[in-house]
Symmetry: D2
């Protein structure tokens, strides 16, 4: 970790929405050796509010920010559909890039983003935060070191704490933006095994009135690997008890589990039994993971090292998402080779 | 519960193998108001050994035992493929019937068994022991009373502690004999929702050398319900850490989980961390559930009441199993209406 | 375990109150190889009600029951103050004896009871049920096998689920009848180490209005051992969340903990967090332990073997209780040698 | 929380040992709105090493640092016996003061420190970090809001992960420096109830060879409150499984527990059972609490607000420690009025 008298990595943030603001605060306040130097957001005033708090530059045009000499590295947390083009523009400007998931909606876009970063020679990290959560990381280390033997059955799930605006959810969001985390976690846990086939089902159970408008808020995806391993990814947009993210890898000599619903170890025993409060949101559950992934990114930006989670990982997870979408559309198992013949 | 001076229900056991012997001991020693009065097993000496311990009659022919006046109720724990015909024969003899799962391998057989019991007017209970496990039961009660709202995502899993003789596993055992428990649990948890479609994958990951001989030792089955709920059933024949059975029902206003891996609450903290011993077998994990289901059966046998788990439940779970087998064979989702047009 | 065709050990129960009835049912229904053959209770009708359920003899005079040829073994579960004389009378009649705790209120009485059983050559077991609880037993086995090294700090606690009749609690009950369990557990865990000094405090916090009448409903007792180990025993007569019994032994190379508040592993997650139901009473928490201690007793009664928990253990725990009473009375640490110079 | 463009609170650290360095890093890297501006340590080179990493001033004389205009607030983490005089000197220099526990070894010293800060009108915060641990805080909030009713039985324990240099432990360290945390936690949990009497035992069980030299490495302290509540504080200098800090408050309508031994929620199931890794040190277990207490301190330094934990709290805990020392020395219960007649 950097000591504070080195010159800081100056980070320019794109997107001052909920998670962008959170990431900006993290960079400004919790990442040693980093400085939030600029914020860009096309929404009127959005960049300015955050910039005002931290004394940074404010832009409405990301392109202008990318051109600034005051920015060494770019953190992309804008609306999802803009991610790919922003990665490409930031790469062209020679900036180190952290891109929130998803990096792309199509494999072509993923390839364009990866190529742009490669050509520019800049680090490109993707926001798969579970890779930096201590329990998921410890679980993966046990798996990678052989502590469960050959993985046979895997599970990853995401349950978001609520669905505020079911009418505002873009098509296929559950696969491209939510389960993409689970697909990455499963691929990470699976190690050298490669996914070969996907079968997915999805429905609007949280907000059924929006089903006709294309909402899918609940989904289960079955992924088969070339090792024979079988994985389940599962998502819901609305868990009454909060934010629930878990992983499980069962193998020939053991099992690991990751995930925690309790927000603190405090237990309250009363006439009704014993109770624990639950985690209510991603910025609580993954606060340390969010910080850790940005600490890692800033290190890579400083040193030029390749991040632990790159555009290739984003693409690999996207292949599963694309196959899942095809599977839902065509109501059949889909070989990954169909959607990614490369 | 019966007090001990009533005349006991006299139970004749068919099958003196591992689980048959366990059930026989349970009846003889732990079910108030019951008496193990006879044991039948075609294997030379098998019935006699158990009968000798408890001073009961011994038969090699179940049919002879069914004809005995010393038997009020029959407990069928023979090899699985014999179950259906034994149910029918016991019904014909007018005995109350407890049949270990599976009751049948085909829907035709299930229908024959159900019809036989109905015609004879005898109780027919099937050995879905999770229905009598205190945690599964408590979970189901929460679901049934609305405590989690509408079920959206369900999970049931079975991991057996080991696969001693992979060459001796009959075809489709994982669906017909193992996952049949999970199918029943899912249907029970789902309440009024009806299963409509199944997609299943299965492989030989525990003992891959036996795959060509037809072994399937690892499987995941996805079940859709008419309510939109999506369920996963999962099985492995070999968990290094013991016997692992869990259930999870996630719904619109909450979640319940059931299952416990620790064999006692004792924790041992040492230089390597904190550890708990795990449950190693079904007769440990479900000891109380096995007793409870037989207490219930003996009550039904005495009173003529309809058991909580009947041949109809066995048939409903079998429909899912048959669809799963078709799904694996044909590598596609299978509508239940295809395999059970009734 | 006895098989059912051996002639059963015929058990005569003294005391048909709450716990006596429970023990009687356990013997009648859940202890293989045992038979509840008689019940004695001076309260009009009490013995008869239980005897009627199980078809046994009924007495109002225990002495008459002790004289019966129909009784091989005696289970004493009467009011506490009668225990000693009943042990002596049963011993004189040559019966194997199970005595609920406490066996005695004074060391003289304890010595009389022990001597009576010794002279008669009959097994004398005391109802320290934690010795037969699977988690306490597993913890003790870890300690005894060196898994935590030398014990340094020990804890045992009892919290009863409520105090229905604070005016009806005999003096010093918290030490003689409640903490006596904890004293025994601590001595058992401590192995070869001998207790040497006690300091105790106690108060009426649950029902302070009864303090002037002598009620003590809350207590903490500190016990020092000759090994240097320091132990805490703690009791309350009223836990709002149910019945809470725990043990902890911390030593030079580790720790064990025993005890469980949750009544089943089922967890319910809802908008208020995650909850488990708690155990509400001794006959739920220790159901299996109660059965196991009586199975053990019946085995000893049949074979004449010395029980795992004898009158000597009752006396050893009583020494601590007597010292605790002296400590409270005189408000000072009390050496065990003061109260038990032998 | 301060945004980063305000002028930072400049913190001068006294003591560049293990915990001082950790606190210095926390201020430099993890406390928004703070700046580590100076380090003072009499050990040759110690201040320089830390100062070099963060580009701060370095002193061997704390007094010189206190005189600096570059320091707004002082963080005292030197050797314990120097704390009081450093507080007084820092107060005289008009600096806001954070003092690691213990603030003083005698009540006279505590009074001098409190008076010095009061006269100077500077905030004086003491390093009782459990007040800022999320689980202890949540537990205290439940207690304070009536969620357990009247506290009856309290427990606080500290088990340090090891005793590297038993010969270098100053006399009474276990009370003044270790259990002082537990005494504070108990007083905090107890709310308005006041401690009235203490009984303590202590021994050298971890390193018995050092007992003659005055080492006490294991202790249990019983504290009575004027409400009748009875509390236990317990400490060991060597837990093989790591660092173990727990709290428990049992009251008339419930109980809360705080503390967590597992270092992450990850569980590893294998042939030997299920295991979790344990926390190995204070800077892991209380990392967030250490940050939170310094964030709070920096806020108080900026605004002049009175900290949540002041010199008065340090004194109140010290009264218990002094009484405990007297109790051990004189082998009797000690009324707090004896040691603190004020």
């Amino acid at each position: 970790m950097a000591d504070s008298h080195e010159s800081p990595v100056r980070v320019g943030l794109v997107g001052a929405g909920r998670i962008g603001t959170f990431h900006g605060e993290t960079v400004a306040l919790h990442v040693p050796g980093a400085k939030l130097s600029a914020v860009a957001d096309p929404a009127p005033g959005a960049a300015g509010r955050l910039a005002g708090r931290f004394g940074t530059l404010a832009y409405t045009e990301p392109a202008e920010m990318f051109a600034s000499d005051e920015v060494d590295a770019v953190l992309i947390a804008s609306t999802a559909r803009a991610h790919t083009d922003l990665v490409i523009a930031a790469a062209a400007a020679g900036k180190a890039i952290f891109c929130e998931k998803p990096m792309a909606f199509s494999l072509e876009d993923a390839d364009r983003a990866i190529a742009a970063a490669a050509e520019a020679g800049v680090p490109l990290q993707v926001g798969f935060n579970r890779r930096f959560a201590v329990d998921f990381r410890a679980a993966q280390e046990v798996v990678a070191s052989g502590g469960i033997g050959m993985p046979h059955l895997l599970r990853s799930l995401t349950r978001d704490p609520g669905l505020a605006n079911p009418g505002g959810v873009p098509p296929w969001t559950i696969f491209r933006e939510t389960l993409i985390h689970d697909f990455d976690a499963l691929l990470w846990f699976a190690g050298d095994a490669r996914p070969v086939e996907v079968y997915a089902v999805a429905d609007a159970l949280v907000a059924p009135d929006f089903k006709d408008a294309g909402l899918l808020d609940t989904s289960v995806v079955l992924v088969r690997f070339d090792s024979g391993a079988i994985a389940i990814a599962e998502a819901s947009f609305s868990a009454a008890y909060g934010y629930d993210v878990r992983g499980e890898v069962f193998g020939s000599v053991g099992m690991v589990t990751a995930g925690e619903q309790a927000v603190t170890p405090m237990r309250h025993y009363s006439a009704t039994g014993v109770a624990q409060q639950t985690v209510r949101g991603d910025t609580v559950l993954f606060r340390d993971a969010y910080t850790a992934e940005l600490v890692h990114f800033v290190d890579c930006a400083r040193t030029g090292a390749t991040p632990e989670v790159t555009g290739h990982d984003a693409r690999a997870a996207l292949v599963v998402a694309v196959a899942a979408i095809t599977s839902v559309t065509e109501h059949r198992p889909v070989a990954l080779a169909e959607v990614d013949p490369s």
